[in-house]
Amino acid sequence: MSKLRTLEEAVAATPEGAVLMIGGFMGAGTPHRLMDELVRQGKKGLTVIANDTARPNVGIGILIDAKLVAKLVTSHIGTNPETQRQMIAGETQVELVPQGTLAERIRSGGFGLGGVLTPTGVGTTVDEGKQTIEIDGKTFLVEKPLKADFALINAKRADYYGNVDYALTARNFNPLMAMSAETVVVEAADIVPVGVIPPDVVVTPNVLVDYLIATENRHG
């Protein structure tokens, strides 16, 4: 069964209030067409798990501009004054997570692990209210796994089965998120025939991907 969907169909499948993981780092590796369509369809009350909200009018920032995000789990909002404003005004609830912890929490959700044991954050405000564990005399925070309803992924290429690879620093959180969401939506620059991406080059295995956003075919 084909995984191809139009942009409209894929976003229509996302209910208001859904938990979304969105790839990208300051906009690089964020699925921009999906962002635009979420705004166009006005999907409200979203929980967004993402490294950052880039800047106003950039990357995930456009969801913030459109006031679609009720809750944000992220490592950094310093580059987006509008996110800070919404947080301070109580319009958006923000959970700040160290970047490496965020990556491992997302991974552990998709890998069936109970959480992450990290030294990062021990003795800082990050450890407030969290369980710690002593292992061989060292203290680690127990950080809980993250899962999502949808992962919105930006890829370099996908084949029609859904095998995916990524481009340079646009990879970032994308392959981790593709493991950890119920439904995985991939916006790829190219969709190529099955067999074109060598098995050793595939980063995200096809079985994880549910929808491929169709690209525009400009010839023929």
Partner: protein, 218 residues
């Protein structure tokens, strides 16, 4: 030479051939420009690349090749890309030889605060907490004072980045090395006296009998 260049040049002396190095946004980024031409240091961009370089030329930018600040960068031959979990595995796992970070405060015990000013600035810690917890060497590169107040204090009043003691502090006035006993004044900046450093510092310093001046080439 302006103060930032001085700091960058002094930090550059700490890097060695073959090192994996992470440079924070801002002042720390300037360090890359001050390495000896024949030194092969690998710069990690925590968003997922080893082998980053300055953009080689106007017009050579790619939207999928950016640094942790979202700015366009280049990639040197031998560069490699990876996901964020691997990037922080390299950082947290002790594979990163040096991280150079900015600071808001460093205290007498060598602890750093650099991610938050309650009620004023809430940017989020980004990768800073992992970098300070995990890197083999943590170097803080910052102005010694801000708005007339010392950034070297007896006890950090701002939220800590990590309880780990940093390894070196390089400012426009001095090089300080945290130790069990406190901050040791290792070097003074060219033309800066020990008394000037003490006056600009809000805690006790350990002053060895011989405190050389930073050896910086113009």
């Amino acid at each position: 030479m302006d103060e930032k260049t001085l700091i960058a040049k002094r930090v550059a002396l700490e890097l060695k051939d073959g090192f994996l190095v992470n440079l924070g946004i801002g002042l720390p980024t300037m360090v890359a420009a001050h390495l000896p031409k024949d030194m092969n240091v690998f710069f990690q961009s925590e968003n997922g690349l080893i082998g980053m370089s300055a953009l080689p030329e106007q017009g050579f930018a790619l939207g999928d090749l950016t640094d942790a600040g979202g700015a366009f960068i280049g990639a040197l031959p031998g560069a490699c890309a990876f996901d964020s979990a691997t990037s922080f595995g390299l950082i947290r796992g002790g594979h990163l030889d040096v991280t150079v970070l900015g600071g808001l405060q460093v205290d007498q015990s060598g602890q750093l605060a650099n991610w938050m000013v309650p009620g004023k600035m809430v940017p989020g810690m980004g990768g800073a907490m992992d970098l300070v917890s995990g890197a083999k060497q943590v170097i803080v590169a910052m102005q010694h004072t801000a708005k007339g107040k010392s950034k070297i204090v007896s006890k950090c009043t701002l939220p800590l980045t990590s309880v780990r003691r940093v390894d070196l502090i390089v400012t426009d006035l001095a090089v300080l090395q945290p130790s069990d006993e406190g901050l040791i004044l290792k070097e003074t900046a060219p033309g800066v006296s020990i008394d000037q450093v003490k006056a600009a510092t809000d805690c006790e310093l350990i002053i060895p009998s011989n405190v050389p001046e930073m050896q910086i080439t113009a």
